[in-house]
Amino acid sequence: MKINAPFRKTAEAGPLLDAGADNLYCGVCVPGRPDVNDRPNNTVYNLPSLEALEAAVRLVHSRGKTISVTVNLPFCDVEQALAFISEVESLSVDEIVVSSTALLFALRGRALNCRLSLSVTNPVFNSEGLAFFRSYGVRKVCLPRHLSLDEIRAVNAVKGAVEIEAFVMAGLCPFVEGYCGVRISPRKAGRNLEPCHYRWRVERAHGDAPADRAALRTVEDHIFIRELDCGLCALFRFREMGIDSAKIEGRNYPLDRKVAMVAGVRAMLGLLEREAPPYEEFSAAAKRYLAEHYGPCAPFNCYY
């Protein structure tokens, strides 16, 4: 199983590869061009330029690893996106991560010298969805965060030639990202604001809904993004299923945190490979690792 990790500076690539990443993904800012990337068009989330990407590609390839570039805005200027893909393709990136079905439609039949991957922002929930996007040349699919392990297993079982990626650390948004309207039109305009990072507060209960403080607290906790999200225990099942890639979220996170997440996933995969412990033992080790490096395991932080 490969580890797919985010980065936003060329200088981050080396430490992330050292920690055990197999593939690095990033967006790229291109001044003066409409955004084609599902993150704010700035260097908090993205590489600053195509020159920086070129340097990163050289570095990553020199280490025998691969690199993906996101063109994953669900809605985009198709012409600009195609032009951008041509540019990054010429820099020998290994994979383009696409979301827009319109863009995939426009790309069909084009000979690309890199692989097409489907972003989680165009969610695939089932085998028929997988087949739909496979017909557009997609060769890797990142499954939504909102599939259970059994549901992931069912899709993975019929993946054919498509690689399947599942989330393992950070970014556990409570809502189905690709179809979410919460992110649109935040009140505090001008800020890079994701409303789910702000707490929701229950004001009224309807019908039979409980109104005691503990019940309300669980509801409020449930629909709120934390930043300790973890699916380390699931690596055991992912390996059993033959999941191809474990994805780590957090392009904008500080490098030390990204490195720690990659190292954690690598350590847990290493444990599986070396010792093949039973699940209970593996899960206990994963929880210990989490507690030592981030914080305690809790139901609200748990991916699966």
């Binding site: 439609f105 929930f125 969805g129 979410c180 229950v202 004001e203 309807h206 039979d208 509801v219 139901p299």
Partner: protein, 259 residues
Amino acid sequence: MPIEKAVFIGCGEEAPAATAAARIYFGEEACERLLPDPEEAARRVRAWRRGGREVTLVFPPVSETGLDRAARTLAALAREKGLECAVNDYGLLSLAARSAPRPRLVVGRILSRVLARNIHDLSLYSRAEHSGFLDMLRGFGVVRFDFDPFTLERAYPETLGFPMSLIAPYALISFTRRCALARCGNPDVRPFGSCRKQCRGSAFTVRNSALHGVFELVGNKILRRMEPPPALPETVDRLVDYDPLKGLPCRDLKRSKSR
């Protein structure tokens, strides 16, 4: 253009006794766990149709389990000519398109918020690609798009190429497959823990400090009350009444503002 009136009936709900609606939207948009048993769905659909009402069967985005249930429901209704089926993911769209006989497919309001914008993106790029994409959707059997007042603001009806329905007054803003109400008062329930259908007959009004106004948490959905615009696009020829809070008593909660 005459506007068809429809009413949305969730799974487990009864149709209102007195309604002028000529069409019933029946099903679940966001939670496959609430989908009815295929035989039960078929029985209700047949009964409504015998009573002179048309039916649009509504499905949420479905996992492999939900896909199987949807396929069995479509098979149970194979003899119902002209049945509409609203789908909210590409997988079920593909599956339903291969059903025999094929239902009249509606792009549900969850999928339409993305797909309608994709159609518009292609129209700006190339007339041929736009036309090819619409042909592809028609080839799947798509006959209509559903919207609500929230998605209508982003709908680009002039490039859509299909008739539109408007579901109101509650717009579906977002949904999760990790249900808050299933965990309500019991934080140790696993993210995909067992569903006891706690959402039936209960909901919460919620507010987020980063967003204007209040929202309703109904099961795994975040809804917002939004009235339809006074002037509808000409291509809107159906209004669907959707009010899951209708008839539910409401209690204000007095809580400290500690956070």
